[in-house]
Amino acid sequence: MSSVNDSESDLTRKQRREQAREERRAAEQAQAQQASQRKRLYQLGGVAVVVVVVIAVILVATGSGGSKNAPAPKSAAATAASTAVIALLQGIPESANALGKPNAPVTVQYFGDLECPFCKQFTLTSLPSVIQKDVRTGKARLEYRSMETATREKEIFQTQQVAALAAGKQNRMWYFVELFYHEQGEEDSGYVTESYLQGLAAQVPGLNLSEWTAARNDPAYSNEVISDAQAANQAGFTGTPSFLIGKTGSTLQKFEDSDLTNPATMEAQIEKVAKS
């Protein structure tokens, strides 16, 4: 009898020990789980902080939008731009939207939006070489045409492009276009105001301001902007700058400029068309 009791109490002790071990194991596992959960939360927080910092850096590096405006008309930056533009264009014949001799064998049509930053990049890096080597020498003539891409509001696009075309009435459009790109402000910052346009016009050498103001109301220029948009659409252009190149007086062909900062491809195309 006593041995049976002993064995029962042994079993109970064994069960209790087993139970205690199980509970200890469970507690340890729960603790380990809590610790790894805490570690994951810290990791998650760490990654989130790094992502926020990286995005903040990208935001600052790409500009806050609207803070960088065009230079004031009489500022040092505007004076430097005027000097560069005069040096580039002086002595080259101009007529309406065209730069270069009317009998030049090759015509290049440049479809642009005056607020487009890629056009600015092209105008300031590649175009000066093309103007010096091909336009000034009488091999090619450049025509500026309008295509809306970067400008947010249609009315502002119309106003700024007409302002440029109106300078063309006094054969000064290319001065206006070049100055616009040189002094271009931050995209969509609303820098194109009436005083900005007046300031640019005041920098164009030899431009009669009252005649220019009167010409801005000429509906012919508004219609020209519309017909340029139709031509761009017909050519299948999707962005600016876009180009058509060909023999003067014949049908021009679409030209893809693979590197906007390198004038070599456009110059080679002009050469090819001139020799054809």
Binding site: A26, Q37, R40, L44, V54, L59, G65, T238
Partner: protein, 163 residues
């Protein structure tokens, strides 16, 4: 929601993201107009100065990001691969938020492709956070209070078959 279906859902979403990013990258390099129901909005976004970052098209960055996420999802599951998915999707979510901000407040135009990608990335980020915090599936019988994932009983111990 179990771990397996979350992983499958994430793989499907990543493939959708790869499709969108591939198309937008193609449009960027081919210089064609993207298909867009909102008029010229997509073209405006695609040709804006914000369509590239340090000279690299953001569409291409998105494509590379989605491919990296797919690699972490297809790799054998572990704490490390779940963490890698989390890092990539959180990064992708942050970048999508930045691009959406640019669309709304700098370009003032919305590109449907970008918005769809941002939604896909947001869902993937939420799923990867859930997946990472839940950790690995408990090993069979590892926890005394939680039954092991139901495994089909062996044929021999199945109950009597009813005729």
């Amino acid at each position: 929601m179990n771990r397996r279906s979350v992983r499958i859902a994430m793989i499907v979403l990543t493939v959708v993201g790869i499709g969108i990013a591939s198309y937008v990258t193609y449009v960027h390099y081919a210089g064609i107009k993207p298909a867009c129901t909102a008029g010229e909005s997509c073209t405006k976004v695609q040709t804006s100065t914000y369509s590239e970052l340090a000279g690299v098209p953001v569409a291409l960055m998105g494509l590379i990001g989605y491919l990296a996420i797919l690699a972490t999802l297809l790799a054998p599951e572990s704490e490390n691969t779940r963490f890698a998915t989390l890092v990539l999707t959180l990064g992708g979510f942050g970048f999508s938020a930045y691009l959406t901000y640019r669309e709304l407040f700098s370009i003032h135009a919305i590109c449907e492709w970008c918005v769809t990608s941002a939604i896909v990335m947001t869902i993937m980020m939420l799923l990867s956070v859930w997946r990472f915090l839940r950790g690995a599936a408990p090993a069979s019988g590892a926890h005394p209070h939680e039954p092991a994932l139901a495994a089909p009983p062996a044929e021999g111990i199945r109950g009597p078959r009813v005729a």
